[in-house]
Symmetry: C3
Amino acid sequence: MSVHDKLKSLGISLPPVLPAAGAFAPAVQTGNLLFVSGHIARREGKPWVGQLGGTMTTEEGKQAARGIAIELLATLDSVAGLDRIARIVKAMVLVNSVPTFTEQHLVANGASEFFEEVLGPAGKHARSAFGVAQIPLGACVEIELVVELRPEGA
Amino acid sequence: MSVHDKLKSLGISLPPVLPAAGAFAPAVQTGNLLFVSGHIARREGKPWVGQLGGTMTTEEGKQAARGIAIELLATLDSVAGLDRIARIVKAMVLVNSVPTFTEQHLVANGASEFFEEVLGPAGKHARSAFGVAQIPLGACVEIELVVELRPEGA
Amino acid sequence: MSVHDKLKSLGISLPPVLPAAGAFAPAVQTGNLLFVSGHIARREGKPWVGQLGGTMTTEEGKQAARGIAIELLATLDSVAGLDRIARIVKAMVLVNSVPTFTEQHLVANGASEFFEEVLGPAGKHARSAFGVAQIPLGACVEIELVVELRPEGA
């Protein structure tokens, strides 16, 4: 099953890709690696503002991370095409955290489990997750990726 | 115009490269990728101490980020030569932030806009920017890079 | 001297590799680069909970970072074999910090100096170190790596 078919079977349609909130590219390819910019959590098209351990629960944070994973797929589709994803190599998951919140790994699972569900073994990645003091526009979660691409036309 | 000529036209001279503040290398090359260590903001040769949303404004943070971009170019010149930069692939921009400061992306633009000004399309990069609890020596901003190099003599 | 012999001469035996605390892989290889997941500090097999500048001193943090470096070598040995390490390319060192703690670089040296002691020049890496608001399970330090591998059988 293609990745597009898999997304359809899950009832997921990819959102439009938004312009970057700054002077940078959504992703840059070097060799067969694609470095994808940090994407922040959004809800109804606006930054999903919140802080884990404060205004948000772990379960809500996990949903936010899953939403970012969908936006990351939309970016991957627009810059390369979903069927060129050979492997999600690495994710960095930043969780907007009050100083006492220690479940960043559970929040990050919202994205990690989704990638594996949609991409199978190609979705299983190395990962770092940690709590940060703040995220642009007050978003609750931000995720960046390194992705290995198949050659075009392969 | 060479990168050196472009810098001259902007009235910018590259500072001397300082020794690393720890047991690490300023940059390490693997294949044609150069991983450049986090560089902290400096002013008059000393760490530029401050925290965004506390002791510093967004505009000052942006100037600090621009200053780091100049220091990163100095490191790139010393380890590889500016004319070997094929592409700034990715930047990670850490902003020393009070918990309520949410303009890390605007601070980061100080470096991102500078790279594009000096390097043109080769300066446009993927990026993550976020707020951290603290930075070594109390610096206000820290930036690391992944850079694609042209082969030597090319 | 092989890396295993060097570790033996230092009286260090590699610990068993623990399962990842989430839906991710301990490391993913792409080309000859290995992206290694963030490893948290452990003591007696449990997360080493603490915060620098609060419940822990810089010297204790440095010991924690050294312990993570040993765990990272255990992971490298299990996924690739220690003798295939061509170079530690980059380390990202996250230090669980109170807002006033500014010695993240000294904490990070605990890992950086160890890699150079055990691997020689191949252990000298690019690095970013910074203070984060919190780390999964409350751990005091977390480190991720990018490692260049020699081809198998080389």
